[in-house]
């Protein structure tokens, strides 16, 4: 017993180091395996509050950009409104129960954004109390941003599309060929993502628009992702690997919309019954 005590006292520095090092290794491995940050994340009152103060101050420097984006979006929406106003809709809707909106949009302010690491996350100032839940899509007027991964009461963490764990269903705008959008920090930078699994038959051209595919319940169909900057065939020559330039400026996000799909629960339940059989 005395020997053990003496050993601990003699090597106390090394033992403390070992303990703390193993603890941090454990949390690192956890974040790699389970694709989420369990308890070491910035969605809490302390870090959220500090980031909030910083965002309040630094927000002023980007006001001009955000205002221009808003005006652009307003112009686009007004254009749609004017053009649809003249067209006569079908005279009478008998069943109004099915007329509720399928998608609801919440707005939020981005408190923290990163784009240099391999796993990038955003922190937004809306959380569970505002109705934000895991796996909701996050977009701006310019295109997609990411998917909600964790929520606390007042904050939510968003997994950026610039994250090695990110997988988004995407399709070509002209045709309906769809594939998977992912990001590789070793090859791509923060402006480019990769679209894989587009079959060889698809007509692909540089400059073509890529939109969300609507195959998942996270993003509705048709939200802008970006344009094709280059493409090549895979080694087996049956699918394309497409480099997509994001339409969104991921270094300056500012304000975001969070999409809530009202049918999501129903879709997931249906999928679950299929898997169980």
């Amino acid at each position: 017993m005395r020997q053990i005590v003496l050993f601990v006292v003699k090597n106390k520095n090394f033992l403390l180091f070992l303990l703390l090092f193993c603890f941090s290794l454990g949390t690192t491995i956890q974040s790699h395996i389970f694709h989420r940050n369990s308890f070491i994340n910035s969605a809490n009152w302390l870090t959220g509050g500090i980031y909030g103060t910083v965002a309040d101050i630094s927000g002023y420097f980007s006001l001009q950009t955000y205002n221009e984006r808003l005006i652009d979006e307003n112009a686009r929406l007004r254009e749609q409104l004017i053009n649809t106003a003249g067209t006569a809709t079908d005279s009478l809707v008998i069943d109004t129960i099915g007329q509720q909106e399928k998608y609801r949009l919440y707005k939020a302010n981005v408190y923290k954004n990163s784009y240099v690491a391999a796993k990038n996350y955003l922190l937004i100032n809306k959380g569970a109390t505002a109705g934000i839940k895991k796996d909701m899509g996050v977009i701006t007027s310019l295109g997609i941003v990411g998917i909600v991964e964790n929520t606390s009461d007042n904050y939510a963490m968003v997994q950026s599309v610039l994250n090695t764990n990110s997988q988004v269903n995407a399709s070509l705008k002209n045709t309906r060929h769809f594939g998977t959008l992912s990001w590789n920090p070793y090859e791509d930078d923060y402006q480019h993502v990769q679209l894989t699994d587009i079959p060889r038959q698809a007509p692909v051209k540089v400059g073509d628009t890529i939109i969300t595919g609507g195959m998942s319940s996270i993003f509705p169909k048709g939200i802008l992702i970006g344009t094709i900057s280059s493409f090549s065939l895979t080694e087996s020559k049956n699918a394309y690997i497409i480099d997509v330039k994001l339409s969104n400026d991921m270094t300056n996000v500012g304000y975001v919309y969070i999409i809530n799909n009202a049918d999501k629960k129903e879709i997931e339940e249906l999928e679950d019954t299929l898997q169980n059989e």
């Binding site: 403390l16 180091f17 070491i40 690491a117 070793y186």
Partner: protein, 171 residues
Amino acid sequence: MNNAVVTLTIRFLVLVLFQVALLNHMTVHILGDTNPYLYILFIIWYPITDSDDRLIFIFLSFLIGLSIDLFSDSGGIHAASSVLIGYLRKPYMRLSFGVGYEQQAQKLSQSSYAQRFIYLSLMIVTHHLTMYSLESFSFASMGYVLQKTLLTSLFTLILVLLTISIFSKKQ
């Protein structure tokens, strides 16, 4: 509360806030994108004392790394690399300043340029190499890890040297 504890607490808080509020947004776009990590200056510049304080020092190194992790949603990569250089600081100091550095109670700003450069490079490169290895977590991306380590180390080193020269007291 004595003076040294107050100074260290302020230094800790200022470095964490400076890192997460400013430096994490100051991306350097040369040969890839990196952020310099100035917060390890806390570990580098911790006052040299006798071995009794080492336990607290190792814990504080861990704590500053954990704080950065908490803010940047990075799992535990900063905590792991910070506690590693906290533990390795003593052998590194022996290596760069010679065995008798404890008796001389030497200040970092009073050492020669060569000694200071060796010490800083050892600390910074060890930290960044550990951090990027843990971040990518695969042997396949060794090239990426090395490139990022070298690049970021360079920027961190410049920033650390600048900060030391600004804040060290003139004799």
